[in-house]
Symmetry: C2
């Protein structure tokens, strides 16, 4: 319907998560009609990020430096290591603002059905890091899904012989949540993990 360059732009925009044909069309026409400067800037930023951004050597998060800002931060506790599935999880934890240790990013979870084993999510690198550095506690903050739980269990089994304390973040009813609207699985977990007051 449109000319080849516009069609190609619309179809390329579909690579963005949550962008369907209608949104892609709206975005392409908006950029071409009203914000060509923004489109150029986005083009440059995409190319620079694709070429420049790799993984932090220590924690595997996304960064263009050899070591990321958190790994090189002297004010953070070296003896605490929080294991998460994605860099976005780090952001969520940082925004909560209470955790002062360091991180390790798996970039996924164990999933034998998809052929994703321990070496694919860097668990060997994690174990080497536990042996190399004097880490007191590993906090497993993988997602509370079947795969996330399996990944947490696998890491805890492998880390135990290394004389490191392994903990899992608590799961239960979220603050501000109303019991009426909480799913059964979460409620059952909240009951079985109850604490004495």
């Amino acid at each position: 319907m449109f000319s080849p360059l516009i069609d190609e732009l619309m179809s390329s925009l579909r690579c963005l998560p949550g962008v369907g044909p209608k949104s892609a069309q709206r975005m392409a026409l908006h950029l071409l009609e009203r914000n060509r400067e923004g489109a150029s800037r986005l083009s440059v930023a995409l190319q620079a990020a694709v070429e420049g951004v790799g993984q932090c050597e220590r924690c595997h998060t996304l960064t263009e430096q050899t070591l990321c800002g958190i790994c090189t931060n002297q004010r953070r506790d070296d003896a605490l290591l929080c294991v998460v599935e994605t860099p976005a999880d780090i952001l969520a934890i940082e925004q909560a603002g209470t955790y002062q240790g360091k991180y390790f990013v798996l970039h996924g979870h164990l999933s034998p059905i998809d052929g994703i084993g321990p070496q694919d999510i860097g668990i060997e690198a994690l174990l080497q890091l536990l042996q190399r550095e004097s880490i007191r506690e590993v906090i497993l903050a993988t997602n509370p899904t079947v795969e996330g739980e399996a990944t947490a269990y696998y890491i805890s089994e492998r880390a135990k012989p290394l004389n490191v304390s392994v903990t899992r973040i608590a799961h239960g009813v979220p603050l501000g949540g109303e019991l009426e609207f909480i799913d059964g699985g979460t409620l059952a977990h909240a009951f079985s993990s109850r604490r004495s007051l």
Copy 2:
């Protein structure tokens, strides 16, 4: 929080309509973690479109050619001209599939309060086109907003001396719409524009 290249990518993604900080973050991490190829392709497509896409000389729609595909299409009726506000409107009309004439894109509407006058939306070019080509009917398909109506009225007044029939698309209750949920303005218009059967 993230490294400079990732922060710049997130902030550049905000130029897309409907993309806020959370979506931009999700998009940036998705591209870097799972679809670098798509990101490169998008970067190239953006640059190519920004550099290559201009306006069709005759109808002012977005295209990288001198004349767009519809203007050069011999099978379409040269004597019918539909005036729309944006290229997206052309797509909507084409998808309806009944109109076989040609188009003229204003890229906006008259809006004295924003300093947008007839010359800014190409009304002089439209009038020249009406004089140059043997056009039988001009169909005004600007949006049914105050500005769109004013633009349609202005064009009809200017086109009348040129001996061209000027029409406006019908406005009223949409097909499949239920009267109960139609706004008062549309209903009032539907009553005042009623036709005898």
